[in-house]
């Protein structure tokens, strides 16, 4: 054994020693309470010692002579493939029985239809669910605690996430009630009557990919979706002014009650959230 080999052998042994010691150390640290960082470092050293030792052993102490192996074409030639084709067909009488072939295909089609049953059970047909939310005429606008939200609790430029009474936290009923100010709002037609005293309510579900539209730039009167930065103009009926969303956030028709709470005048006039193919066909 020459000097180089002796040195390599000592190095490999040192690596294995690191693994041995850190492995025991890891067990000790774990028993004494454990610490993620220390355990991570010890585990890395334990694995790394073993890996380095094995690689060094292979690179320094094994015959790394260059070997050459013949490489033969994989295919067995036309006879081989012909023999397979023959073996596949000769005993079955496949090619002669055209009618049976058709029958087999039809039978497999029937089986596929039967197998669709469990697949279709995986989820209900969407039906009207994408068109409707829990909002109904007369339902109060409530907070996360299911208590009605009061107008005087929302300062100018204030934003509150509201839900239909009885459905706090509702995913498709979530709505933003914004105190935009009557002088700034520029709503047209019905939409204007749905914004009493400068309060306006829009669906909080982004019409692009369904994230909650959670950021409000009061100075510009813009709602921004933090996921893909779709930006909606609150004063103009929440029309998209920037980003990938192409459809305004649907407006919830609301009215202000005598006791300072809000109630809905009905559900949103169009589906909330991301668009889908038949949303304008009415399902």
């Amino acid at each position: 054994m020459n000097r180089r080999e002796r040195r390599a052998e000592r190095l490999v042994l040192a690596c294995f020693a690191v693994t041995f010691l850190t492995g025991l150390g890891l067990l000790g640290v774990y028993t004494l309470g454990g610490d993620t960082q220390v355990q991570g470092v010890l585990l890395a050293l334990c694995l790394g010692g073993l890996g380095a030792g094995i690689v060094l052993w292979a690179q320094e102490l094994m015959s790394n002579e260059e070997r050459v192996e013949e490489r033969h074409p994989l295919g067995t030639g036309p006879e081989g493939s012909a023999a397979v084709a023959e073996a596949l067909t000769d005993e079955a009488g496949f090619s002669r029985r055209r009618v049976l072939q058709g029958g087999l295909v039809a039978a497999l089609g029937g089986l596929a239809a039967a197998l669709a049953i469990p697949v279709l059970s995986l989820g209900p047909a969407p039906g009207r669910s994408l068109f409707e939310t829990p909002w109904k005429k007369g339902l109060h606008l409530v907070g996360f605690d299911n208590q009605p939200v009061k107008a005087d609790a929302i300062p100018q430029d204030g934003v509150v996430t509201v839900f239909p009474e009885g459905f706090p936290g509702s995913a498709d009923g979530q709505t933003l009630l914004i105190h935009a100010g009557a002088d700034r709002l520029q709503l047209q037609g019905d939409a204007a009557t749905w914004a009493p005293n400068g309060f306006v309510a829009y669906s909080k579900v982004c019409t692009h990919a369904g994230c909650p539209v959670g950021l409000y730039r009061a100075a510009q009167g813009q709602l921004i979706c933090p996921c893909h930065q779709s930006t909606f103009d609150v004063m103009q009926g929440a029309v998209p002014v920037f980003g990938p969303a192409a459809r305004p956030l649907p407006q919830l028709p609301i009215q202000l009650e005598a006791d300072g709470t809000f109630t809905a005048l009905g559900d949103f006039s169009e589906p909330v959230g991301p668009s889908f193919w038949d949303m304008r066909l009415g399902g």
């Binding site: 454990g34 690689v55 192996e69 996921c227 889908f276 193919w277």
Partner: protein, 503 residues
């Protein structure tokens, strides 16, 4: 009368490089010539060694001795880039091992419970059983956080190494005949890995992953005609549903790993049958394989590399925090965080959704949702191009010949330029997926950055294509590594005073 056995069989003794120093066959001839009957008996019918007894026992029951011997002596070409695929395989093994540990603690349930663990900010909060169980794993189970972080870090490295391996195979033309099938299987492995990453990312039911699942649902719902049905069948109804977590759990720990393992066996099995490709250096030719024996050289290097891979992810998992779900909070449909960033390998998809212009045409009453083109069509086209690349290239170049020798990347400028352009496109989309973070970091309006990315996503891949194409063409004027003369080129002065290369 049977001659007494004098001892163990004479083993062929070899010098360090394998040349025999003794020769049992010659000794047998010599013993016969001497008429030494007992020596003949020992040499011709020696006592089997301990190891021979074991291999013999197994061979008698399987008949695999020949195959095993061929496998141990199989030659593997040696190049660092051939180890990338192996590292991906090692990551998969580490993921299965750490993931199995995690399943013992994870509760795939959306039912609500009250957090009562040691993390003060969440005490008393209403959270799902899934979120609760991941918090318990992170804070209460000893070494639980380490295992969880190693699992997540390995997933991050896993996809990166798969992409690196795919790029190596792509740029060297290793996918050409007869290896088209293995390219397709490898492409399948990439998509399984991405699906594994996304389903696993969603399981802790934290605010960030819930937002990601919401976006995936929206992309599914955007598919024309069948979108709402596809989304409902996948998620078990309108998002968010209670069915979603247990379903993603089964996909993540059973179906996808099983598909992955099966595809790995086919992938590695084909490499075994077809033998590895090699670079055109030294003695390598189309009809041979030059390298080292599988056993022990290659096997030891690979085994060592497995532990080194594990060491790297253990270090990352121990020291670098990843996915601190207690900081994100539990998923709650009306709440969202900003910034919201997915794991790196989904960033390009998020970027595509972010910078695509608002496009939602209504044709004959049918709405094409704004998420459809950036969230379904563009990823579909990009992945289809990558998936069927061997057939695209064959159509373009007309090259149908089998290839066992690899190209140097610059030898096929069209391929190199196209591959680099696709990687460039993914890079720009990934950066665009962080446009809000970049906007805060660079102090630029998000609108300007988005417009910049809309421009770059078209211009950058084209620029990359042209530059890489030109670089490859200029590199072709210089000799390839195998043609470069050892010790440089010798120049001689010619009669006109110029310089010429000497033969």
């Amino acid at each position: 009368m049977k001659a007494p056995r004098f001892g163990r069989r004479e083993r062929p003794v070899v010098d360090p490089i394998g040349r025999p120093l003794n020769d049992p066959a010659r000794e047998l001839r010599d013993a016969e010539a001497r008429g030494d009957a007992s020596a003949v008996d020992v040499i011709a019918d020696p006592e089997p060694t301990e190891l021979e007894r074991i291999t013999g026992w197994l061979d008698e029951r399987t008949g695999l001795a020949g195959l095993v011997r061929t496998t141990l002596r199989k030659v593997f070409p040696d190049h660092w880039s051939f180890l990338l695929g192996e590292i991906a395989l090692f990551c998969f093994i580490i993921l299965v091992a750490t993931g199995t540990f995690l399943t013992f603690f994870f509760v795939p349930s959306a039912s609500q419970t009250t957090y009562a663990g040691p993390y003060p900010p969440l005490q008393g909060a209403t959270v799902s059983e899934a979120y609760n169980s991941v918090l318990r794993l992170s804070f209460d189970v000893k070494a639980g956080l380490l295992m969880r972080q190693v699992h997540h870090w390995t997933a991050v490295v896993f996809v990166a190494v798969i992409v690196a391996h795919l790029s190596r195979v792509f740029f060297t033309g290793a996918f050409r005949r007869p290896r088209e099938i293995n390219w397709l299987i490898g492409f399948g492995l990439l998509t399984f890995a991405l699906a594994e990453g996304f389903t696993g990312y969603s399981l802790p039911d934290d605010l960030l992953s819930g937002t990601g699942a919401r976006i995936a649902y929206s992309a599914a719902i955007s598919i024309p005609l069948i979108g709402p049905y596809v989304a409902s069948l996948l998620f078990g109804g309108e998002f968010p549903t209670a069915a979603f977590l247990p379903r993603f759990f089964v996909l993540h720990v059973m179906l996808l790993p099983a598909l992955f393992a099966g595809a790995i066996v086919a992938h590695v099995g084909l490499v075994f049958l077809q033998k590895h490709t090699q670079f055109r250096v030294g003695r390598a030719r189309e009809d041979n394989v030059v390298g080292r024996h599988f056993w022990p050289g290659q096997a030891f290097v690979s085994g060592g590399l497995f532990f080194l891979t594990a060491a790297v992810v253990a270090l990352l998992g121990g020291l670098v925090q990843i996915n601190p779900i207690w900081a994100y909070g539990p998923f709650d449909a009306p709440i969202v965080s900003s910034p919201a960033q997915p794991d790196w390998y989904v960033g390009w998809l998020d970027g595509s959704l972010r910078i695509f212009p608002p496009f939602e045409p209504v044709i004959l009453g049918i709405t094409i949702p704004s998420a459809f083109v950036p969230g379904v069509v563009i990823p579909g086209i990009l992945f289809t191009i990558v998936g069927i690349w061997p057939f695209i290239e064959r159509r373009v170049t007309g090259d149908r010949a089998p290839h066992n020798l690899l190209d140097w990347p610059w030898e096929s400028p069209f391929r190199a330029a196209t591959g680099a352009a696709i990687l460039g496109l993914f890079a720009i989309l990934t950066l665009a997926g962080g446009n809000d973070v970049l906007s805060a970091f660079l102090d630029l309006p998000i609108e300007s950055l988005t417009w910049l990315f809309r421009f770059l996503v078209l211009a950058f891949p084209i620029a990359v294509w042209l530059v890489v194409y030109a670089l490859c063409r200029s590199r072709q004027r210089y000799p390839a590594p195998d043609e470069r003369p050892k010790g440089g080129i010798r120049l001689v002065r010619n009669a006109t005073g110029g310089w010429e290369e000497a033969e």
